[in-house]
């Protein structure tokens, strides 16, 4: 079994805070096929369309029949541990801080043998394991093996924690308490062991229904935060920036507008100021301090989550402004991901279809319940996923974009 992760003690103010280090990160373009799979939490390997053989490492042609028709596809995860290696001494600066580090050779039931990171409790050769593809702190895909059956406290394994962004013992900022997801998210984070949840609320003079529900959750603190106001964002970062280990940006601004309506420009300006410029203001205020705290103990700064509309990936004319603003947020989010990578901070995008809320009243089901979105975000943090697709609409659009983005665009306009 794994030693449960202890609640971190208060910091010794005389001790130097460690600088974040990253595992070695060079990958070939072909190897990024695995990054694609790992980012969305899927286990995918190349499979030959001619002879059906799975292949690893990624190749240009099938080693069995020489066909060049190798496709990335979902792959059975079971296998047997053939050997294990415990690394106690290494010259790599990142791994030096994380020894002992366990790796092993696993033969997958579907054929290939793979060198993988091992959880501490995988036992010895001959044991059954399941493999997953994970993103390490540098954002690169790595294999990870867990034992079957599961063992106690396995989620607290130190090697596993390096590959995830578990909210346990961490402090979280939810940027918009007026978001329909805020209450469910705060409850899910609390359940996942977050020690403190800051919730930003703008315009405190405007009452809102969820305030009581938020205040009734233990460990919550409502804080002033107006994403349209540079000074407000900066002042909050001055107060609590060094205490935020996970930032979840729930900012959203849904206003239907027709492109040719007289008022559409104002709607677009409001949405873009709130969501796109809001994300920019958050990034400027919270980005630097979070990046610097990436190695601040086992529960240091670890993740930045943006809650995005799946229509940011391809415009839904019914919510054209909303789609355009989310597309801009996605682009900004990719930029932020690069800027936070040196700190080992994961930038996670949770793509959702229309929520089952007032602004999507006229949209037919299926719609996403706020609780489902909240649970998916917390799951994504615990599993270290980078792109989370929540609900049938988002999953459908993801699959169709993978297949044929033009079809998605044309069909959305019908």
């Amino acid at each position: 079994m794994t030693e449960p992760l202890a609640k971190p003690k208060r910091k010794n103010p005389l001790a130097r805070m460690r600088q974040p280090l990253l595992p070695p990160s060079a990958r070939s373009r072909k190897a990024h096929e695995l990054t694609l799979a790992a980012a969305s939490g899927r286990f995918m390997l190349q499979c030959c369309s001619e002879c059906g053989q799975y292949t690893y490492p990624p190749r240009e042609a099938c080693p069995n029949c020489l066909s060049s028709d190798l496709r990335l596809q979902d792959t059975p995860t079971g296998g047997v541990l053939l050997s294990e290696t415990r690394i106690d001494v290494t010259s790599d600066p990142y791994y030096r801080e994380h020894t002992p580090w366990r790796t092993g050779l696993v033969r997958l039931d579907c054929g290939p043998s793979i060198v993988t990171h091992l959880r501490g409790d995988c036992g010895g050769p001959g044991n059954r394991v399941v493999l997953s593809l994970q993103l390490d702190r540098g954002g690169q895909a790595v294999f990870f093996a867990k034992p079957i059956p599961e063992t106690p406290n396995m989620e607290d394994d130190l090697q596993w924690l390096e590959l995830t962004a578990d909210p346990k013992h961490r402090r979280v900022l939810i940027t918009d308490g007026r978001s329909p997801v805020a209450v469910a998210l705060a409850q899910a984070l609390k359940k996942a062991g977050a020690t403190k949840i800051f919730i930003g609320v703008s315009d405190r003079w405007k009452p809102f229904n969820e305030q009581k529900s938020l205040e009734s959750i233990d460990g919550i603190e409502l804080v002033d935060l107006d994403l349209t106001n540079e000074r407000s964002v900066q002042e909050l970062a001055m107060d609590i920036g060094a205490k935020v280990e996970i930032l979840i940006n729930t900012a959203d601004h849904v206003r239907p507008a027709h492109l040719f309506d007289a008022g559409a420009a104002n709607t677009a300006r409001d949405s873009i100021d709130y969501m796109v410029m809001g994300l920019m203001r958050l990034a400027q205020a919270f980005g630097p301090v979070m990046r610097s705290r990436g190695a601040d103990g086992p529960t240091g700064a670890v993740a930045w989550v943006n809650v995005l509309s799946v229509h940011g990936l391809s415009n839904a004319p019914q919510f054209g402004v909303h789609s355009a603003a989310h597309a801009a947020c996605l682009s900004l989010s990719q930029w932020l991901r690069t800027e936070l990578r040196p700190g080992g901070i994961r930038v996670i995008n949770a793509f959702s279809g229309p929520l089952d809320t007032e602004w999507f009243q006229t949209v037919p089901p299926p719609k996403v319940a706020p609780k489902a979105l909240a649970d998916a975000i917390v799951d994504g943090l615990k599993c270290g996923i980078e792109d989370i697709y929540v609900g049938d609409v988002a999953k459908d659009i993801e699959a169709r974009l993978f297949d044929n983005p033009k079809a998605v665009e044309r069909e959305a306009g019908q």
Binding site: W205, K206, P207, N229, E230, R231, S232, R255, N266, D270
Partner: protein, 263 residues
């Protein structure tokens, strides 16, 4: 007294015989703005983003970019703001006659009533009682409704409930009296609008806007320091920004008050 009025005025200012009172709130991001139902267009709140502050973006100078709606903070309503004033001449802030920017004020103190009842309405009865004490309201003067509402902050100031805002203001009959019979130049309040918070339910809806702007008169709202003004005798300086086709603007509102002792 010499024949030069402005010379005498300058001396009165210098000696303190005439005091200048600022009736303006500070323009700041957290000052409440009017809230419309969310599917309607919204007024942008006041926002300020730095261009430079003696830094790499401007080594020796400090300056900011501002954004705000026309009806933000202490602000002026021009006749074109309401549909009733849309066809009048000179109905925008840029065409406002400069002479109208300086006018005397009558201050009606309803602070006690407003403290008892957030939905307090100024009616003909209060105006009649005021005129019995201070004389008939002169034409071309401002009528300022003192409620001390400006002393409230944030949520208490906006006073939004599930059925809308609850703030004091005038009823329809008193607006007709002031505009049509007294010929006032405008009406000013300490609340977010010249109308009461619930005035959407009046007939006609928003009577202050309806009658004032329909007759080419003006509105001032989010005023402060009205408790420092005498019932009569204050002179108001209210010059909105010269915005092309503007329906209103934030502005600095000043009151000139002659100290009684210097007679």
């Amino acid at each position: 007294m010499s024949g030069n009025i402005l010379d005498a005025f300058a001396r009165a200012l210098a000696s303190g015989a005439v005091r200048v009172i600022d009736l303006t709130h500070t323009l700041s991001p957290d000052f409440p703005v009017i809230v419309m139902p969310p599917e309607l267009g919204q007024s942008a709140p006041f926002r300020m983003e730095r261009i430079s502050r003696y830094d790499a973006s401007g080594p020796a100078w400090y300056w900011n970019n501002l954004s705000f709606g026309e009806h933000t903070g202490t602000h002026f309503d021009a006749p074109v703001h309401w549909y009733t004033g849309r066809d009048l001449p000179l109905n925008t802030v840029d065409t406002l006659p400069p002479a109208d920017m300086i006018a005397p004020a009558c201050v009606i103190d309803c602070s006690a009533e407003a403290e008892r009842d957030a939905d307090f309405l100024l009616t003909v009865a209060e105006v009649t009682a005021w005129e019995e004490k201070h004389g008939r309201i002169p034409a071309q003067s401002w009528v300022l409704l003192r409620t001390d509402w400006s002393k409230k902050r944030a949520a208490a100031y906006a006073n939004l409930r599930a059925d809308g805002a609850h703030t004091p203001g005038p009823d329809a009959a008193v607006m007709r009296l002031l505009v049509e019979e007294r010929g006032i130049i405008g009406f000013g309040t300490e609340t977010i609008g010249t109308d009461a918070g619930q005035a959407g339910h009046f007939s006609p809806p928003y009577p202050a806007h309806h009658y004032l702007h329909g007759a080419g008169r003006y509105g001032l709202q989010c005023l402060t320091n009205l408790d420092q003004l005498p019932p009569t005798g204050a002179m108001i300086v209210a010059a909105p920004l010269k915005i092309q086709n503007g329906s209103g603007s934030p502005l600095r509102v000043l009151a000139l008050v002659q100290e009684r002792s210097t007679g």
